[in-house]
């Protein structure tokens, strides 16, 4: 018996496993390659296109000069250089960060709820943040400033996340129905709160609230970028460290526990991660919905559900999506700027509908 044990075990499954490993490597290589190209192209395009058009070489030259490398490509005019570094680059950086944070938050939330339909926007986290921001804007004083509004949005988002978590779970699982109903309840409550705040506020505050809700990356500044970066990078790093545990969670909390996972602890840490990621993303940029739904889902279709790849793909995919969406939002209409949140919802809404239909037909019901 012992000698039989030492011989390499060759089973029929191994050959096909190996063949498909190389197939999957190819597929993930292609996806990551495409995302990287899209990311670089998006950054350069977004930085170059606008009222002041800057050539590709000038964008690259300005970037290099900014980090201390002088090249002949650096823009000749000081105004172009300053415009890139004061206005375009922080905005591009913000779009990358917000997109990545929202997509990672979506992937983590779906892992925790064991449900591909969980998304910060759908379940009401974003509207919680909106309520917080609106309260800040109306209250005047310190809270009405950019930082104050962002902090209030952050608090609102975290509060709504915790509320959904407590309300939507039953017996370790979250059914689609419960999740969506909880989302409806949280959205309705936050919506009512928002309406009340708008009713109370003066017309300037109203306008500010409305535009905050529509979502925009306009006027991003480096200090704001830095704040979002700290939260987004730290939370994403923790999420990556937990990737293999999220895989186990797919077996259901009981079985995951049998495999040695401290399920309750993982869930609480993850919910905080989602709240921080979403809160950081919406704090300055306003509501940008459906990124956390669409991106992880698309990545999962190509790379499969294993979370290490899924989180990496989502991070890149979210950044790519938002940098291009922001470019489109800025340039689609001459002389005006489309709210980016409107754009993502325009794509995300129908996609969500499609997912719902599919989940229903697959599972033969709404469970």
């Amino acid at each position: 018996m012992a000698s039989a044990m030492e011989a390499p075990v060759e089973v029929p499954g191994r050959a096909s496993e190996r063949a498909s490993v190389s197939r999957r490597r190819l597929r993930s290589g292609l996806l990551f390659g495409a995302l990287a190209v899209l990311l670089v192209a998006g950054v350069i395009a977004s930085a170059g296109v606008g009222q002041l058009t800057v050539s590709v070489t000038e964008v690259i030259g300005a970037l290099l000069r900014g980090i201390g490398i002088d090249t002949p490509w650096a823009p000749a005019s000081e105004i172009t250089y300053e415009a890139l570094w004061q206005i375009r680059f922080p905005r591009v950086a913000m779009s990358l960060l917000v997109g990545a944070a929202l997509a990672v938050a979506g992937a983590v939330m779906q892992a925790v709820f064991g449900n591909p339909l969980a998304e910060p926007g759908v379940v009401g986290v974003s509207s919680g943040a909106a309520l917080g921001a609106a309260l800040g804007i109306v209250s005047g004083g310190v809270l009405a400033g950019v930082v104050g509004t962002a902090s209030m949005a952050f608090i609102g988002g975290v509060g709504a996340t915790l509320l959904v978590y407590v309300m939507a779970r039953a017996g370790g699982r979250t059914e689609v129905v419960t999740l969506l109903l909880t989302g409806i309840a949280v959205n309705a409550f936050a919506g009512a709160g928002l309406a009340l705040v708008i009713f109370v506020g003066d017309s300037a505050a109203r306008e500010q609230i409305v535009f905050w809700q529509l979502g925009s990356l306009n006027g991003s500044r480096w200090n704001e970028v830095a704040v979002v970066a700290v939260f987004a990078v730290a939370s994403s790093a923790i999420a990556f460290a937990l990737a293999r545990r999220y895989d186990l969670l797919a077996l259901g909390e009981r079985t995951a526990g049998h495999l040695g996972l401290r399920v309750e602890r993982l869930r609480i840490v993850s919910i905080i991660l989602v709240a921080v990621l979403t809160g950081a993303a919406v704090a300055f940029a306003g509501i940008i919905s459906f990124v956390g739904l669409v991106v992880p889902h698309a990545v999962r279709m190509v790379l499969g559900p294993a979370h290490k790849l899924l989180l990496t793909g989502s991070l890149l995919g979210g950044a790519v999506l938002l940098v291009w969406a922001d470019l489109f939002a800025r340039t689609a209409v001459t002389g005006a700027e489309l709210p980016i949140g409107l754009l993502t919802s325009l794509i995300g809404g129908p996609f969500f509908f499609y997912l719902l239909r599919r989940a229903r037909s697959r599972q033969g019901g709404w469970a």
Partner: protein
């Protein structure tokens, strides 16, 4: 088809040298265990041991408390009264990681939330060994578990695309890949065809032969009689009988517990066969 316990298991080696199975301490020792939820009593005053090298079948009608008892043995649920010791220590005192390296559990309902491939699902059974020297055996443990459960041809399929019986076997493979010295199986045969039912019990039997403590919830009494060392009959939360299949599975007891008249026949291989009187 043989299962290998982790290296710390002395049973397999010593069993070859001296045929009579060595006397091993009980893996699970339940002492007067009771479980109540509100006014409902699910399990009451159950004392049972499952020793290393022993296959114990838990049988009984629906709602008799078999799965509840199993979840108490697994450490999922704290008993309302009494206590469960696992490897000489209260089962609730083990850390989840240590427990996962010593006992594996097959739950009744096995779902996977996302379309993971069969290979990945079985690989999850190796998670407790991550960062331990045993992790070097991952590949081999997975391959062996896949073969043993007759699912090696499914490795590239997604779990969500499998039939009920295939899911059950893949989940069992995940449990085997965990390579623990104790295994709890909750109705592993429920969705299986005739051949795979026998296969699963044969696997459980060979685990026990290698020194693993095995407790299985079963509905098929003849199956329990053929493979178990001991049969525990549960009746409304209580232990109605516990002993060797021949002693326990009498028509009088079965008729009382299940409320159904039965024939208990001597099978051709000497194990009792239980048939409803029709």
């Amino acid at each position: 088809m043989s299962h290998t316990p982790q290296p710390d298991a002395p049973a397999a080696a010593s069993a070859v040298a001296e045929p009579p199975a060595p006397v091993l301490p009980p893996a699970f020792h339940a002492d007067r265990v009771g479980v109540s939820i509100g006014p409902a009593t699910l399990v009451e005053d159950v004392s049972i041991d499952v020793a290393h090298g022993e296959l114990v079948a838990l049988v009984g009608p629906n709602g008799a408390g078999k799965s509840t008892l199993l979840s108490v043995l697994a450490g999922d649920r704290a008993p309302s009264s009494g206590a469960v010791a696992f490897d000489n220590r209260d089962v609730r005192d083990w850390t989840p990681g240590d427990l996962a390296r010593r006992r594996a559990v097959l739950a009744q309902d096995n779902q996977v939330a996302f379309p993971f491939r069969v290979w990945e699902v079985v690989e999850m059974g190796r998670a407790p060994w991550q960062g331990h020297p045993e992790a070097d055996d991952d590949e081999e443990a997975i391959a062996q578990a896949l073969t043993t459960c007759d699912v090696a041809h499914l490795t590239e399929r997604t779990f969500t695309s499998l039939s009920g019986g295939e899911r059950a076997r893949v989940s069992l493979a995940r449990v085997l890949a965990q390579r623990t010295r104790a295994v709890l199986l909750d109705e592993p045969t429920a969705a299986l065809d005739l051949k795979h039912q026998e296969d699963v019990l044969r696997v459980a039997r060979s685990l026990a032969h290698d020194g693993v403590a095995v407790a299985v919830v079963l509905h098929d009494l003849s199956l329990a009689a053929a493979y178990a060392d001991h049969v525990a009959v549960m009746e409304r939360g209580r232990l109605a009988a516990l002993g060797s299949p021949a002693d326990v599975l009498t028509s009088a007891l079965i008729e009382r517990v299940y409320g159904l008249p039965v024939h208990v026949l001597d099978g051709p291989d000497g194990t009792p066969l239980v048939l409803p009187r029709r």
